[in-house]
């Protein structure tokens, strides 16, 4: 037991030395509880997705297994366990088996640093409602979630199937492009909080107002990039069923397919939790700064957990709502949105926010109501600029976008000189 505690001490210098036994037990309990809730939640999300898609399309959705279809995920799980595991003859087996694992594990791992409730006071000291309160917090999430792309790319490559390979290639291009905007969009948040720990970010929001009010553009970029990172519509090019059959998981069956499926939903949960934490105050009870300074109580913890889950569920619903509303982007639109619009916007936004913060510091305005309201005013101006002016035909080049007169004339002359065009007339 002693070397284990020493190891933990080495891994986390912030660990209180006297509460180590409690820390280990509490962590194990938290791990089990979080993992169980997470997996059950993901299973229920598959049902929620089918129900919401049905309602949006004026249907009932699955309603045969159990009361109003509640046992559908269990039936699906059972089906996936019983199904035959197929291995394509040309597939490279080690990677073919490794790929679903590689996409599943990072999806689960990212959850460990997300705080989901106010600290819980017990007889043995305060227990933070986060599985591992890493000092690097947010950076850990960026690092781990980037690993998810390996699962998809390896699945595409190891399947030895053209559609799977195309899906894998697309996902690598997409996820790497959007990861940059995702990372950059959070820098204003980190600037404001002055820390990368998610707990510190939540504390800052409890005092200074939710970041979505002050950093709307950062939230917007993060939202779009999160959709791209989780491969959800309108960015589901890696699986693009109308073009690539099922993309990277074309060749997968049974539980291996199920792992990809679970990973998608797990990524969705993590992305939603991140949005809640970074921009919607995490477990912060609205209009009360109390939940970070105490006095802590069991009731406060329960209330904050409920509030966190309410926000989380809203974003999960939002993911599904968008999925059943928007069509898929064309590949060039996806790339130009990522590189030509979101990346410059994120960079410019960092500069603006950094400048504003610098000016506020120089003017001697400390964090408080004044600070927040100035940030909010700046935010209103930027939002107006982006959504009222930049949005018109420039965010995504439409198929029928405006072409300059000279280029249009050139295109027309080329087409009229074409022997094919004259032959058809």
């Amino acid at each position: 037991m002693i070397p284990l505690i020493a190891l933990l001490q080495a891994a986390n210098p912030q660990l209180p030395p006297n509460g180590s036994g409690v820390f280990v037990i509490a962590t194990i309990v938290k791990m089990i509880v979080v993992f169980t809730i997470y997996m059950v939640g993901v299973a229920l999300l598959t049902l929620a997705e089918r129900k919401i898609s049905a309602w949006i399309q004026d249907r009932h959705g699955p309603n045969r297994v159990g009361p109003s279809g509640l046992l559908q995920p269990a039936a699906d799980g059972l089906k996936n366990f019983m199904k035959e595991e197929t291995y394509p003859e040309a597939a490279y087996k080690p990677l073919f088996i490794l790929a679903p694992i590689l996409s599943f594990i990072p999806a689960l791992t990212t959850w460990v640093v997300i705080p989901f409730g106010a600290p819980f006071p017990t007889r043995w000291g305060r227990i933070d409602l986060v599985v591992a309160d890493l000092p690097v917090g947010f950076l850990f999430i960026l690092a781990i979630s980037s690993l998810g792309v390996y699962g998809i790319v390896l699945a595409g490559w190891a399947s030895n199937n053209k559609y799977a390979l195309l899906g894998g290639l697309r996902s690598s291009a997409q996820m790497i492009s959007y990861e940059i905007s995702l990372g950059l969009s959070t820098i204003p948040v980190l600037l404001l909080a002055g820390n990368v720990t998610l707990g510190a970010i939540i504390t800052q929001q409890a005092y200074g107002g939710w970041n979505v009010v002050n950093l709307t553009i950062a939230f917007f970029i993060f939202l779009v990039a999160a959709f791209a990172e989780t491969n959800r519509l309108p960015f589901d090019l890696p699986e693009a069923e109308s073009e690539l059959i099922a993309g990277y998981h074309t060749e997968y069956s049974a539980m291996k397919f199920s792992l990809f499926f679970i990973a998608e939903y797990a990524n969705m949960v993590t992305a939603s939790a991140l949005m809640v934490t970074l921009f919607f105050g995490g477990y912060d009870v609205p209009f009360t700064p109390r939940d970070n300074i105490g006095p802590f109580s069991g009731w406060l913890t329960i209330l904050s957990v409920l509030i966190f889950f309410a926000k989380l569920l809203f974003f999960l619903f939002f993911f599904m709502w968008v999925r059943w509303t928007l069509p898929r982007f064309r590949y060039d639109q996806l790339m130009s949105l990522g590189w030509k619009f979101m990346l410059p916007l994120a960079l410019a936004y960092i500069i603006v926010i950094a400048a504003v913060l610098l000016v506020l510091d120089a003017a001697g305005i400390t964090r408080g109501a004044m600070h927040s309201s100035i940030l909010g005013a700046v935010n209103v101006v930027i939002v107006m600029i982006v959504f009222a002016i930049l949005d018109h035909g420039r965010i995504i080049s439409p198929a029928y976008g405006r072409i300059e007169g000279a280029r249009l004339a050139r295109l027309r002359s080329v087409s009229s000189r074409s022997p094919l065009a004259s032959g058809a007339k």
Binding site: T325, H392, S415, S418, L420
Partner: protein, 165 residues
């Protein structure tokens, strides 16, 4: 294919992705909360089929329980799919009756000509669509099967509007 590119010169002011997205999401949300569903919960709830629905056949019988068919041979003649097999027979009083009357429902195209042409109003297409069988042979309906079926039969035309006006 001629290489001519059709370029729609739409004004930039009309092309707003965010506005269009919000509009679409409002529409889907309206459908989401709309309690009216179009699904028919099939085994419990059945679709009301048209009185002119032409489904699997039925042979009507006389009061004595015998098939009305007089084996005139009009239906196998008119049948465009050639799915009716009829072998006529004659009893001691000279009444013709079918010895064999079989309809292959797989070959049938459900045009309803057999019902239209029948002078005795014996063979009918039925208002029925639940036709599952365990074998292909099960779809060759013999006379016994045709007479014992009880589903409602097709009205080839609306009795109140026979000319379809």
């Amino acid at each position: 294919m001629p290489i001519t590119v059709k370029v729609l010169d739409r004004p930039i002011e009309d092309v707003s992705y965010v506005k269009a997205t919000l509009k679409g999401m409002a529409l889907t949300f309206k459908h989401l909360i709309n309690p009216h569903k179009v699904t028919v919960q099939y085994p419990e709830e059945k679709w009301q089929i048209s009185p002119r629905w032409r489904g699997t056949h039925r042979m009507l019988t006389t009061e004595t329980g015998k098939a009305k068919c007089v084996a005139c041979g009009l239906c196998p003649t008119v049948c465009p799919a050639n799915c009716i097999k009829l072998v006529p027979g004659e009893d001691e009083e000279g009444n013709r009756y079918p010895l064999i009357f079989e309809i292959d429902e797989f070959r049938c195209i459900f045009c309803g000509y057999c019902q239209e042409v029948c002078p005795e109003e014996a063979i009918h297409v039925g208002r029925h669509y639940e036709n599952a069988e365990y074998s292909r042979e099960g779809f060759v309906y013999d006379l016994e099967r045709l007479t014992s079926q009880t589903h409602p039969v097709c009205e080839m035309w609306d009795p109140e509007d026979p000319r379809g006006e």
